[in-house]
Amino acid sequence: MDALVNAFSKVSEILTSIVFFAPTIGGVQVPLIVVWLVVAGTFFTVWLGFMNLRGFKHAIDLVKGKYSDPDDAGDVTHFQALATAVSGTVGLGNIAGVAIAISLGGPGATLWMILAGFVGMSTKMAECTLGVQFRRESPDGTISGGPMFYLRDALALQGRGKLGRVLAACFAVCMIGGSLGGGNMFQSNQATAQIIEVTGGADGTLGSFGWLIGVIFAVLVGAVIIGGIKSIAKVTEKVVPFMAAVYVTACLLVILGNFSSIPAAAGDIISGAFTGPGIVGGAVGALLVGFQRAAFSNEAGLGSAAVAHSAVRTKEPATEGFVALLEPFIDTIVICTMTALTIVITGAWADPDASEIGGVKLTSRAFESVLPWFPVVLAVAVVMFAFSTMISWSYYGMKATAYLFGEGKKVENTFKIVFVIFTVIGAAAALGPVIDFSDSMIFAMGVFNIIGLYFLAKVIRTTISSYYSRIQSGEIKEFADR
């Protein structure tokens, strides 16, 4: 096991140095990939005419089902597509990732995180519109979509078939890596750390049994994805939204419990955003970690959501674009901000060892100061979030594998077995290499996806604006008014 973990650390180191190539600009290391994602978000926000703001109400109406044809009842609704996508993204990024951002970048990272969430809404809208527009329906009626398909097929329509195929293949390779890394190892790593923590830490009952917890996770994940045991997935689906509600409520309790500190915390967040008292170097450092953790959490521009949203029943691809813009809003602007406020308001971020313990532990400590019993609940939440994220990402990885190697049971099962092996490695390895590998692979997806989005920017805008103008003119009405 040690040899495997060591070999993994080496690979992770090399990958990170490529994906996170960060020239030093003005004394601060600037990871170009983070700049890449934020520039894309900003571009699409402007390019689509701030549709992330203008279309917000319409997005809510779509999710409520106001525009759903009653004859389509029984098929995948906008709400269901959104809920599935959100359960894949809401997870450790919202709990551990935010804690990492603030422990490194100071409270100011929060403001940049929110901003990244805001522009991320536009990228998400762009990619999910394309996801539905270029999805594929197989003869048996199953629907699948995602960047692989729009990169290949939409670019081919522009006479860029070769470029499209290359981008699609590179994207698929990275999505397999992202699935194994951020979607799997990072999840099992942090969930395991949390279980060890609540059972007495490294010297506690389970201190040296990280690998065993990993094996248990692997068995459960395997039961769902290989064994097809739907009841486990069913339970997770039901419990995860409930846990998310509990989590946000607990954040609110902590924030309201420190009512008098709210102005000071808000001040720290705003002034910190421009002065950056964190350890990564000034305001730019705060900005970069804020952007990075937001991107890791809401996955805007990475292309994963386009896979999840593609199954929706709709005749208008743009509708799912509108619905998808709610995802970074829920994930980053609401949930990540809650976590950040909790950590800032309790002062947990200023502990001398804050950047050292990082991750879930820091969030847990912030809660503990107000709700002493909460770390146990948090541990359960982390495990449930991690589990649902793993199930979602195993699907993304499987789709990418099928794209590269063809549909078929043999290919599918090989991937699934590799997936559960990585679950165990994730639990046994240290946080550092795991988080580096996870970040590298997940962010690399964004490189190829966004190149494609730029080429397809005109298609995206035409689809969205032609739909939106029909909504505004009243040509497309709510079903109750037809």
């Binding site: 599935t84 699948s144 999840a308």
Partner: protein, 143 residues
């Protein structure tokens, strides 16, 4: 000619509901609509795999309902020498039955007494109870 909507599932009580409606139809010359609602919510939480398979499953569910629920009821109706139109929908059972009743212009809904059973009914109450509570039309519950 007045229309009667008969809400059915695959229970014995549904058979009795159809038989009851047939008796009334003979006496009053009614038009019959036999409907089955597949319990489904637009706001449930699914996995990616479930979503991917959903369109195919939806078709399969409708086909199964047609074969196992609707067909036996229709043959009862035909054996009595009458005709019935049919409806199969996904949705919230009692609400969707009312929607169908309004669409087909029914003046009356007939259902069998038992639908759900056991724990579910103990917790949520039965479809029939809800229907009786909220229906804007007269409802006959056949024991």
């Amino acid at each position: 000619m007045a229309t009667v909507l008969i809400g059915v599932d695959n229970s014995e009580a549904s058979t009795r509901a159809v038989e009851f409606a047939l008796e009334r139809a003979d006496a009053e010359d009614l038009q019959l609509v036999v409907a089955h609602v597949i319990n489904w919510s637009p706001f449930s939480f699914n996995t990616n795999t479930e979503n991917e398979e959903r369109p195919a499953r939806r078709k399969a569910e409708i086909a199964a309902a047609d074969e196992q629920v609707i067909a036996p009821m229709v043959s009862l109706v035909e054996a009595a020498g009458r005709k019935a139109s049919t409806q199969i929908r996904h949705g919230h059972p009692s609400e969707t039955l009312i929607d169908i009743a309004e669409e087909v212009g029914a003046s009356h809904i007939v259902v069998g007494r038992t639908g759900d059973s056991g724990l579910r009914e103990a917790i949520f109450g039965s479809v029939v109870m809800k229907l009786v509570h909220v229906s804007p039309l007269p409802v006959t519950v056949v024991p």
